[in-house]
Structure formats: C-alpha cells, structure tokens
Amino acid sequence: MENLGALALLLAFCFSIYAIAASLVGKWKKKPFLTVSAERSVYAIWFLVSAAAAILVYSLVSGDFRMAYVQQHTNRAMPAIYKFAAWWSGQEGSLLLWAWLLSNYCAVVVFTNRRRFRDMMPYVVSVLVATEAFFLMLITFVASPFHVLMSGKAIVDVLDGNGLDPLLQYWTMVVHPPMLYLGYVGFVVPFAFAVGSLITKQPGDAWIHTTRRWTIVTWLFQSTGVLMGAGWAYAVLGWGGYWGWDPVENASLLPWITATAFLHSVMMQEKKGMMKVWNAVLVSATFFLCIFGTFLTRSGIVSSVHAFSQGPIGKYFVSFLAVGVAATIYLILDRLEYLKSEAQLESVVSRESSFLFNNLILLASCFAVLWGTLFPVISEAVTGEKISVDAPFYNRVNVPIALFLLFLTGVGPLIAWRRSSLDSLKRNFLWPTIGGLSLIVVLFALGIHKLYALMSFGLCLFVAWTVVAEFFKGASAIRIKDNVSFARATVELTHRNTRRYGGYLVHMAIVIMFIGFTGSAFNKSVTAEVPSGGTLNIGHYQLRVMQIQDGENDNYQWGRLVIDVSKDGKPIGTMQPEKRFYKSSRSQSSEVAIRRRAEDLYINFSGISNASQPGVEKKAVVQAYVFPLVSCIWMGYWVLLFGTLICLIPSKNRLQYPKTQVVGIATKHATVEK
C-alpha cells in the first residue's frame, strides 16, 4: 500500500513537471495539442494525489501501524473521526493535504476555463502546477508520509501508536486546519491569473472579474479558519484567551489582512481603473504570505507554543519564496506601463480616498504583525542578540489601527466617488455621529473610563447605524413603490445588489465582533485554592465547591469539581470542570466549564494542591473568569458567513452590469452600480 502511495506521488510529481514544460512550450511554439495535454495532466495529477491521500487515510483509519506516520499520530482507542483528522496533524500529512487541495483547485480551474482565456491559460496552468510541483517534491523526496518503521532491513509492526495530542482531540480541530488550508491554497488561483494576465499583457481587468468570486470564497475559508482557531483556543486552553499573537496565529492572520485589502482595492480597479499596480502587488503578497505562513509553521524559524518540528524543509521554502518573489517583482516592474491608472485622485473626502486609507492602514497592520513575528530573526541578524516582542506590542499598534478601520467601515461605503459635498456628508453622517457620541457620554457617565473601549463602542454604534440606515432607506423606497411588506422589501433590495448589501452585512459582522473584542477590557479573573465545601466569589457570581471527585476509565484518569453557582444570591446551576490525564500519550488536558451568556462564566480546574502531602486537607486550585461579551465574536462569525454567502449570489439586476466576461477588450466599466 505505502509503495503505491509513494509511487502515486512520484508520478504526480513527474506529471507536474511535464505539465509546466508542455504548456509553456506549447504556447511558445504555438502547438495547441501540447497545451491541451498539459491541462489533461492536471487531471492526472488530481487523480494520483487523491489516490495517495486515500491510501494515507485508509492506513490511518485501519490502523496500519507499520507506517511511521500512522504510528506517530494515532492509537487504537481513538475515535475514527480523530483518526481521520490525524491526516493533517503531522508535517508530512499536512503537506499532502496542501498538495491534494491544490490539485483539486487546479482541476476545477482547468475544467471551468477549458474554453476561455486560451492565450492566458498556459501561464495560469504553469503557475498553478509549479506550486503543486513544489509541494509534491517536498512530500516525495523530503518529508514523505509513506515511510514505514524499519529496524535494520525488516519492517516493524508495532502494536499501538502514540496517539493524537489530547489538545487536538476537539471537534474544531477536525475542521479548523482544512478550512485554513482551503483559504491558504485558494489564493494560488487569483495569483496565477494575475501572473497570466501580466505575462500576456491583457489590456482589461479580465483576471479580476474571473477571480472575484474565487477570492471571496477563499477569503471566507480563511476567516472561518482563523476564527475557528480562536474558538478552539478559547474553549480548550484553559484561560479563555482566543488570540495570543503567537507566530502561528500571526501567520494565519497575515494573508487574511492582505486578502481583505485586496477585496476592497479591486473595487477601485473595477469601477475606476485605478490602483492596478497595487492590486497586482496585493494579490502576489497574499499568495507569498500564504506560502510564508506554511513555512513559518513548518520550519521552526521562530519559537512558538505550536512547537514546530525543526524539519529539513525550511531551506526549500526559502528558495521557493526567493525565486517566486523575485520573478513576480521583475514581472510587475516590467509591465508597469500596462498597469497605468485611468483616473486620478481628486479629493481627500471621497470614496477613492477611503479605499486608499483602508488599504494603507491594513497594510500597516500587516507589516507591524510581520515585523513583530520576525523580530527575533531580524534582531539576531542585526545586533547578534535574539530579542522578541510580546502581546502588548501587537495590541499597542493594532488597537488604534483597528479603531481607525472601524471608522472607515462606517464612512467608506456612504461617501461619494470623486468628491463629497458637505451637504451629503451631513445627510449621511449627522445622526450616526450624534448617536455614537451620545453612547460614549452615557457609558462614561455609567463609569466606563477606558479610552479605547469607549471609542470602540461609540464607533460600533456609528457604523451599525449607517448600515441599518442604508437598509432602511433602500427598503422603504421599494416598499412604497411596490407596495410590499418591509421584510419583503429588504429581501428584494438585497437581491437587487447582493454585492453591496452582502458587503454591508459583513461590515455589520465586523461591528459585532468588535463589540466582543472590546468586552475583553472588562475581563475578571480569580484564582484560589478551595477545599471541598469552600466558596469563591467573582463579579456577581458565587461558586461553591460541592465535591472533588476522581476516577479513571480505559483512556484517561480524571478529576472533577462539582461547583454550585449562584448569581447575586440566586442559584443558577452546577458546573463541572474536569482535569484529565491521558494514559497512552501521558499528557494532561483540561475540560473547562463554560456558561455561555452575554457574559461568559469560565471555570478551569487547574489542579490539586497538597495532593502528595498526607494528612493535609486536599484543596482544588480553581481559576474562575468572567468574560463579558465574548459570545459576540462567535455570533459575528455567523453574520459574516451569511453576508459573504449573499455576496456570492448573483444580483437580480444583472442587466445593469456591463458584460464582464469578455476578454481582451479594454472596457472601461462605467458602472451603474451605486
């Protein structure tokens, strides 16, 4: 079996080399059969990599403990779903997942564009397949998932494996890595189209129209992946943190930031023909940051809680990045004259300007995070001393940036193109501004004196107000004109321009998440040693430890607290945080108890003190936290998902849009869209 898997990967690698050569040669020598054969081999690669992936999954699930990868990441007692998830819990497997997802994307791109973009496709295919070839090379020659355990020349079959880390045995860990990878890998496609269009000197913006939907879908995957990671950290790590500015978290955030900037600035190119160079730079930056993120998590260049394996693959990634970045920079510089802007900035108070500042500020944030992540590497190179920066650095830089962005979220969509008159500003923003400011005054009077928290709440109301007002104005007009109910009018309004109103919903989601982030300014925590029968107070809550239980089963030993909780004297139920010690992996995990409401009550049983001293009363170390508003973050995600899906529905008033699928014609898209 493992031989078949390794063989499939090797063949796929050969096919990918062939595909690059054939599509380029076919293009230069004008031999269409070669380009077509290259596209066919994309399907072959897909088949071969799928077969290899299937073999690995089969070995994992059936427990073929002759294989090193299976032995290291599973054991017999694990539930089947985690055996499946073990596919991406190690380095070799996750590289295979990368390659497999990319091969799917390649096949979809080749299939959907089989009759379009004939002049551009050979380049698109070669960029896609070159990336695929890089990953196939890694899993064929450097980090193969199909190694077997050998001692001397004999294959060894061990009885049971090491098992998966208990921290990873949690449902989001089954979904989170594939989501992030779908997002990471997906950005290869817009990048490939951008490169193809630059090489062939496409006069129009064909690549942007083709890849817009693609970009939104991968952006959605990235957002899902990042937030799911946050949700996992919150529920599993035992102290309620959802974001710690850890290098791996930063690695997943960086391409998300540039992708968000790209989603906004492409609108400038579509509507005004501006910022073309910038968009080419952004889409390339996103792609390379995706590769860089994979590199960062896989090479051990920066130390992190995610305990990177110090694998040999770092140098391959660096070479790939260096060659790729150099080639892209050369290409963009060489094609500068094809990327000339078709319009000029006219006023600081205009839609163009708000896009510009949105991009500037997103990029600044991206750069600050990147700088902080790489600070140990940079400082070591410059001063010889390895110095790292910590969470306060990131917060200090990013909180003001985030607030400014939130402000732009409210202002940008309502401001006019080219220039805005004072009158229209007053019409759109007078009441939201008054609303936001009054909220700040009220909250201040209520005793909240934290500057950033006040600003954030004020801005949240400001943005929410502008968004709701937009829906209200549009829907009212339809309601009067068509004489339908308000709810129906809202649906109709959204359907007429899904991009615009879906976008508003996503903005609303961001506002809801910001409310959740701001709540962290009011977190409370208490740590105490409590004997059985003792109590502990936090905020409005009183916790009484009723029992300290312990026991064991086949898989783990456990200790559990039974805690009666009352709020302001009224009993509201029992909570049972648990501590487990897994036998096969000999590691601990905490099962925190969370009461999810407007403010979460979060209890962690962090251990027993005096456990080893006989004669002394056992005391449980209880850590209790109150996290106000944190649920808003997860709620915001569902709104974001909903809004993004709406963006993907084609608008009803299709005819209002210029035909965008025509390639090779420099259409200036004078748009009808508001």
Partner: protein
C-alpha cells in the same frame, strides 16, 4: 497637485503615528532570548531586562505553593546546543523558576518537557516568570529512536 499634497501629508501623519506606536511597543516589551548558561554568566546590569529562557523541566521539580508554581529548568551542554557557554567541567546548568501568572500552566507542561519561561531574573538568582509556555499541540514529531529506525520504503 494640491490634493496629492494633502494625501501625502495625511499618509505621512498616519505612518508616523504607527511607527511611533511600534517603537514604543518594542521598547516596552522586548525580551532577550538567553540560554540558562548565559544567564549564569550575566552581570548585574542585565537584571533590568526581560528574558526568555528555554530548558527542560527537571524531573520532580514542580512544586505548587498557593498561587505560585516553582520548578527547575535545566540545560545540558553535552547535548551540544548553540549558545552553551560551558566552562570546563561545568556541563549542566539549572535555573530555579517561580511562576505566579494569571494563565494556568499549559497542560503539556510536565517533567521532562521543553518549556519557555518569560520574565526577569531576581538578584537572588531565581527567575520570576510571568509567562510559561511548553512545547505543545500541533506536533509531537517522531521521537529520535523511531526517526533513526524509520527508513524509506522501497521507493
């Protein structure tokens, strides 16, 4: 040119503010990576810096004492690590650490595990950590003996 001048000024102001915030942030939170042996050779003026120390948690050294947790990190120069300032017969270094942070110690923190401690060195030679991380989660890569034993299949 006038709008462009305005844009230039605004962009300059924004970038200036961000750089100012970033420089302040770096100075406030920078942490020096040191090995345990380097800490032993440190002069007193180094005491005001934040340090990040890596080491193996010594067996049977974890003691829970109220809010505090004490443990010993050790570094073995015979394992040929970089940054090991071994002097003569002195090959093993250890560091007493006291942790009294808010976050609970990670579940992967246990005797024998690799851990990182962030904090300051007291004049008494005890390291006061405000953050402790342990190698965890994503990967427990192959343990060395298996790595040696595992070889490529027939291909």
């Amino acid at each position: 040119m006038k709008p462009y001048l305005k844009f230039g000024l605004l962009i300059g102001v924004i970038i200036g503010v961000i750089v100012w915030l970033a420089v302040g942030g770096v100075n406030e939170t920078k942490t020096y990576y040191k090995t345990i042996s380097e800490l032993h050779h440190l002069s007193n003026q180094g005491l005001e810096h934040n340090f990040r120390v890596a080491g193996d948690v010594a067996e049977n050294s974890i003691v829970r004492n109220g809010h505090e947790v004490q443990f010993t990190l050790s570094q073995d120069c015979r394992k040929a690590q970089a940054g090991c300032a071994a002097d003569g017969p002195h090959q093993q270094f250890s560091l007493k650490v006291v942790y009294a942070g808010i976050e609970p110690l990670p579940d992967t923190f246990k005797p024998g595990a690799q851990a990182l401690a962030d904090g300051r060195l007291g004049p008494d030679g005890v390291f006061h950590a405000d953050k402790v991380q342990a190698k965890c989660a994503s990967k427990y890569e192959a343990k060395p003996p298996q790595r040696v034993a595992s070889q490529k299949a027939s291909l």
